[in-house]
């Protein structure tokens, strides 16, 4: 049990009552090591966002608990930030791009005014929005809005970053450079990242570990360590035999999980 920074302990969650009661998470447990980059993949609606929001202290588990460090999470912890899947609802329409990015840092109260100014500019530059820094969010495309949300979260350098499908709306080129940006910051700052994606290649490319989730009752379908060297290289890493092996394995796990899930649903 080396450095189990986050411990998810038999967390259950359901929505609705009576007839409509639906089990989403069923006694799911897993540890997250400090400094790891863990991707979570799984079919739509299996509870990935719910899981992350419980870890983030934004939703309450019905049963079980999440431990961060050695404290139970019962409110959003100070050094953890959840990056919403609904990026367009999460950014503030009355703020410009720059004001939005500053918002995260200002609320942390960790930096001086001039530091915030400088860092926000850098971060906006890194996500490629420097020319639009004074735009209001309704003047941006979906992919640009998503990058505002990313920049805002990255800028405040939380110890733990929970990213919920953060690149879903950006084009392939931008996605590549954002992946490298996140990897770069992760290496430099020693963050712990939980990263939800539907893209297996992305999961393998970025992660030190991939968790495959499934619909309840058996949520945890697979847990795969990715032993590929860092820094990952855009061209060479995906060509490594091991990369292909993991990719293959994960595809199989996901399809297996899907099949198992379906038959269990039929039996239930």
């Amino acid at each position: 049990m080396a450095d189990n920074y986050i411990q998810v302990n038999s967390v259950s969650k359901h929505f609705g009552v009576g007839e409509a009661r639906k089990m989403i998470l069923n006694k799911i447990s897993f540890p997250i090591e400090k400094g790891s980059f863990v991707s979570i993949i799984g079919p739509s609606g299996c509870g990935k966002s719910t899981m992350l929001q419980i870890i983030a202290g934004l939703q309450e588990a019905a049963e079980g608990e999440v431990i961060l460090g050695n404290k139970k999470v019962d409110a959003p912890p100070f050094d953890m930030v959840y990056l919403f899947q609904q990026y367009n609802k999460s950014i503030f329409p009355w703020k410009t791009v720059k004001e939005n990015v500053k918002f995260g840092m200002e609320s942390r109260k960790k930096w001086s005014k001039s530091e915030i100014e400088q860092r926000s500019n850098e971060m906006i530059e890194l996500v490629g929005l420097y020319d639009c820094r004074d735009y209001y969010t309704h003047q941006l495309s979906g992919g640009m809005q998503q990058r505002v949300a990313i920049a805002r979260a990255l800028a405040c350098e939380p110890d733990v970053l929970l990213m919920d499908e953060p690149f879903s709306a950006v084009d392939a080129m931008t996605r590549g450079s954002l992946q490298d940006l996140v990897l770069d910051l992760w290496t430099k700052l020693g963050l712990t990242i939980l990263f939800v994606t539907h893209d297996i290649d992305e999961a393998v490319y970025l992660s030190s570990r991939v968790i495959v989730l499934n619909r309840a009752p058996r949520n945890l379908a697979a847990d795969v360590s990715i032993d590929l060297p860092y820094p990952r290289e855009r061209l060479t890493t995906p060509e490594m035999p091991n990369f292909l092996k993991y990719r293959h394995q994960l595809y199989e796990e996901i399809f297996d999980a899907e099949k198992r899930g379906n038959s269990e649903e039929i039996m239930a």
């Binding site: 919403f84 609802k89 329409p93 009355w94 942390r108």
Partner: protein
């Protein structure tokens, strides 16, 4: 020619036409009544009142009362609206009270207000504040209720305290609704100031109109009413400008 009917000019022309109609009904003797002076004499009186400064004095007293009441209502309405919208406790505590008092037309309080506050400004400010309070409260409340949970949770995940969430997220989210309430109340404030001045006052535009009628200065009476129209229009224009400036996104 076709363009004319698709521009604002047509509306202005209609007003000019109606004023001319008014003038002719009097000059051609179609309507003959001391209560119905020609529009030209109304404008003449209006001009005299403006030049002498009397009108502005009356208007000043009215606007002072109105904005005192309106300001109090705005502060309290926004404050309690935020409280009731964000904290369920305050909603359950205050909602029944609001629902009991809201349907009562404010003029019904005039006798009580006179008993407790007398005939001076306090009474009028109280009535104006009471009448303008509810639209501001209710619009603020509904503005807060429709704030997306994701916006609130964004504040929480970035470590905002609940006070900061109200100030930095709920308030700006609800601002457009708050302005709707404020604009509705602006009209109501003007109504209330006139009513309260007609009931008991020795200055103000409501008093002036009533007094003109009682002393048979009929064209002054009409001039007073026109003044209210003009000031109502002007206040609304200023308000909309301000709103556009603040709710700029």
């Amino acid at each position: 020619m076709k363009k004319l009917w698709h521009s604002r000019l047509s509306g202005v022309l209609l007003i000019v036409f109606l004023l001319l109609l008014w003038e002719w009904t009097v000059t051609f003797g179609i309507v003959q009544s001391p209560s119905f002076p020609s529009i030209s004499s109304v404008f003449k009186s209006w001009g005299t009142l403006i030049v002498s400064g009397e009108l502005f004095q009356q208007l000043g007293s009215s606007l002072y009362r109105m904005f005192m009441g309106y300001f109090i209502a705005a502060v309290l309405g926004v404050f309690f609206g935020l409280l009731m919208g964000y904290y369920r406790f305050f909603y359950f505590l205050l909602e029944p009270l609001v629902e009991i008092f809201r349907p009562i037309p404010t003029p019904a309080y005039i006798p009580i207000a006179i008993l407790f506050l007398g005939l001076e400004n306090e009474m009028k400010v109280f009535l104006i504040a009471t009448a303008t309070f509810f639209p501001i409260l209710l619009n603020t409340f509904s503005g807060v209720r429709q704030v997306d949970q994701v916006q609130i949770d964004t504040g929480r995940t970035f470590g905002l305290t609940s006070g900061e969430i109200v100030r930095k997220i709920i308030l700006p989210c609800a601002i457009p609704h708050i302005f709707t309430g404020l604009r509705i109340s602006l009209g109501i404030g003007l109504i209330m100031v006139v009513i309260s001045e007609m009931v008991a006052a020795n200055n103000g535009i409501g008093y002036f109109i009533l007094q003109a009628q009682r002393t048979f200065e009929v064209s002054n009476m009409y001039a007073g009413i026109f003044t209210l129209g003009a000031i109502g229009y002007l206040l609304n224009v200023i308000f909309v400008r301000l709103e556009r400036k603040i709710v700029h996104w």
